[in-house]
Subunit: 191 residues, 2 copies
């Protein structure tokens, strides 16, 4: 048994994000990440399947949080409000990791394959939210449409949040983005 | 120079969709597609880079159609209306190919990599629409939000359209999906 190292996951993640930023994702090896973190490669693979997973390991927890929140929303909540409240709750958790999120976003933006992976992650979140809405009795098409709309709101808020010049916190940005969406759709010229 | 074959692209596409449906995408070779179409592999590669492109070659034309329609919308059109009108126009073109679209969708649904490619295609369409909205003077965040909302509308409409039991045509489904989105957001409990 290897000796237990406190916060190994966090150390590996910080080392990886620093190296991805310095050398690029493509040019960083697991060996270099482990060395920077003062840990072994074996320890790295105890936490992450590969160097890409360092950027995406939180997706499962995020999905669980969103699904739990949608499922537990009051029966009286409109589907879109259940989704936006779930996103705000998730935003509150993510808010604690703003610096890491900014570093991560810069790495993803610089790499086409990672951008694709990120899009797929969001699409899977949308599918999970739609399933949770259907379990609440929302009709199938409305569930997909509401979930996709929620993800559109989240994407817009997240893009602002990782911008260095943006001061608002993520839950606030999600509320603002939702208000903007309501203005976008309600303000349409068609009756 | 090879002899010109009438409608080679269409013959290759029909042969590919038939074989993907019969054998699965993974188990179909370019050689088999060309043989089924009564053409050579060399002719295949004059039209498609690989067997995957048979399923996605229309994306460029679709994007151009959407961008042109958004760009050419009346100055007075609200951004979301410009986008929905563009989607309806694209829907009218796609409507002519409903049988091929249904075959194609079954192939994509059965293959994880193709599903991912399809998601990425939609995300690229959204980016192109957002750029076209920004060129009309729409603020950056509103442009992304409006484009993503448009794609959410399109996805819901398209999913219904490729369903064998659905009789409505794609432009009508897009309008209905837009109305549903407006109900989803306007009907929310939050003020």
């Amino acid at each position: 048994m290897a000796r237990w190292e406190p916060d190994s996951r966090g150390r590996l993640e910080r080392a990886a994000l620093a190296l991805y930023g310095e050398r690029g994702f493509e040019n960083t090896t697991v060996a270099a990440i482990a060395a920077r973190a003062g840990l072994t490669e074996r320890t790295f693979f105890r936490y992450f399947a590969d160097k890409r997973e360092v950027l995406f390991w939180g997706a499962g927890a995020l999905q669980e949080l969103l699904v739990t929140a949608v499922t537990g929303a009051p029966d009286t909540a409109a589907p879109i409000d259940a989704v936006v409240a779930a996103l705000e709750a998730a935003g509150g958790v993510l808010q604690e990791r703003r610096d890491a999120a900014r570093q991560r976003q810069a790495v993803i933006t610089a790499n086409a394959e990672l951008r694709e992976r990120d899009l797929i992650k969001l699409a899977l979140l949308s599918t999970a939210i739609a399933d949770a809405l259907r379990a609440r009795g929302v009709a199938s098409t409305a569930a997909s449409l509401t979930a996709d709309t929620g993800i559109a709101i989240f994407k817009a808020a997240f893009a602002a949040w990782v911008d260095e010049t943006e001061q608002r916190e993520l839950p606030q940005l999600i509320r603002d983005s939702y208000d903007e969406l309501r203005a976008v759709t309600a303000g349409a010229a068609r009756p």
